[in-house]
Amino acid sequence: PPPEWDWRSKGAVTKVKDQGMCGSCWAFSVTGNVEGQWFLKRGSLLSLSEQELLDCDKVDKACLGGLPSNAYSAIRTLGGLETEDDYSYHGHLQACSFSADKAKVYINDSVELSQNELKLAAWLAKKGPISVAINAFGMQFYRHGISHPLRPLCSPWLIDHAVLLVGYGNRSATPFWAIKNSWGTDWGEEGYYYLHRGSGACGVNIMASSAVVD
């Protein structure tokens, strides 16, 4: 893969959002990935609706959590995603009010990606931002810099947060993943989290996935 990559500078990433007091990170991770896939295939960057997934994805559990793999499947079953403007975020479960004729984006499939971080970097550089899930150890107090907790403290067995890989690179010889979080811009580095790359830190390589837009 190229030595570094950042989809933010290529227009494939929408602004940082805020899930509020709701465990809906899974929806933000998936919409961020679909936004990137749609941008790469159709050339337009649309901010997509997480609330639609909270309300209409009946397999997942809205604010109590969910899984990206179920969410991709729900998007296909529903017939696509509406935009954030058309189906705005409220941070709690509501009755589903999705209408297919307002869907602006659809997906054809979803895939699980390699657990090899080098292959993940190559895939990201070629195919776009990646939905991942990590152990959120220490993120409650994270302010900036590249996080690299000791493995037992940030075990890949205790994954509890879904986010979006938007790029990678090195900062003074420390390799990192650039991660878009969904806790607002007043957390971390303007809403972003930087995690050590190449050591399987916090299970970043365990649950990488993406939607497919033909």
Partner: protein, 258 residues
């Protein structure tokens, strides 16, 4: 390194107790570490489940421990002196090597206060300097003298007991800054006091996380600093990710050499 857990394919199985005994015994050993024989807690009941993937197994245990009667007054007041404890443990068994990933114990009959957290859940109670009570006047913003984001300057003070005067004063000042920066409002003085003790405890936690990080990250005050770990985990995180396998997806082709 042994195979990574493939969360997507891993199932969690409820276990009969015999298989739980080994991980439970390990967790109890970790819990009692450093204690003299007669002061060790005993395991009364354990139940749990295991998630297997690759060559590892992750045991999620719920155990009831019984603390021995406390007859050393200098110790009793420090440690949670409740007799029966309800603990949750996460024990990882990789290639026969056990590792305690998480331990969370609380008295069974804890009195729940405020934001639903046991009053005596071992939170460091921050003593306010005499004559200062966390009422509205307390929070007139006077930015703390040190803007150092990880407050390493005050930590050595923590080891003294009772906490020295300047620790509390510094803590109040930092907490005021937090309240104003993140526009916090608390309904009662009691809630404000409780939140400040959580805040103080979290600063110690952030300092420990800082000390154990091998990267370039900086940890300190964030907008979540007045939440207990339990509140933060419950509100903002998504434990389903490790518990449920989710739909199987096909594996993407790797990118041919660019």
């Amino acid at each position: 390194a042994p195979n990574e857990p493939r969360a997507a394919g891993a199932q969690a199985w409820e276990l009969e107790s015999p298989e739980l005994l080994e991980p439970a015994r390990f967790a109890l050993e970790m819990y009692n570490r450093g204690r003299a024989a007669r002061t060790r807690a005993a395991l009364r009941v354990v139940r749990g489940r295991v998630r297997r993937a690759g060559r590892g197994s992750l045991y999620s245990l719920k155990a009831t421990l019984v603390e021995p009667p406390c007859n050393d007054p200098t110790v009793c007041q420090l440690r949670v002196s409740k007799k029966t404890l309800l603990c949750s443990f996460e024990v990882l068994d990789e290639l026969g090597k056990h590792m305690l990933l998480r331990q969370d114990c609380g008295p069974v009959d804890s009195k729940i206060t405020g934001a639903g957290i046991p009053r005596d859940a071992g939170i460091a109670q921050v003593r306010l300097p005499s004559g200062v009570s966390p009422d509205s006047s307390l929070f007139q913003l006077s930015p703390p003298d040190d803007k150092n984001e990880t407050f390493s300057s005050f930590l050595p003070l923590l080891n003294k007991d009772p906490l020295p005067q300047d620790f509390s004063v510094k803590m109040v000042s930092i907490f005021k800054d937090f309240v104003t920066t993140y526009n916090r409002t608390y309904e009662t003085t009691e809630e404000a006091r409780w939140r400040m003790s959580v805040f103080a405890n979290n600063m110690v936690r952030a300092q420990k996380i800082q000390a154990l990080d091998r990267g370039t990250a900086r940890y300190g005050v964030t907008k979540f600093s007045d939440l207990t770990e339990e509140e933060f985990r419950t509100i903002y995180l998504n434990p389903l990710l490790k518990e449920e396998p989710g739909k199987r997806m096909r594996l993407a082709q790797s990118i041919p050499d660019l």
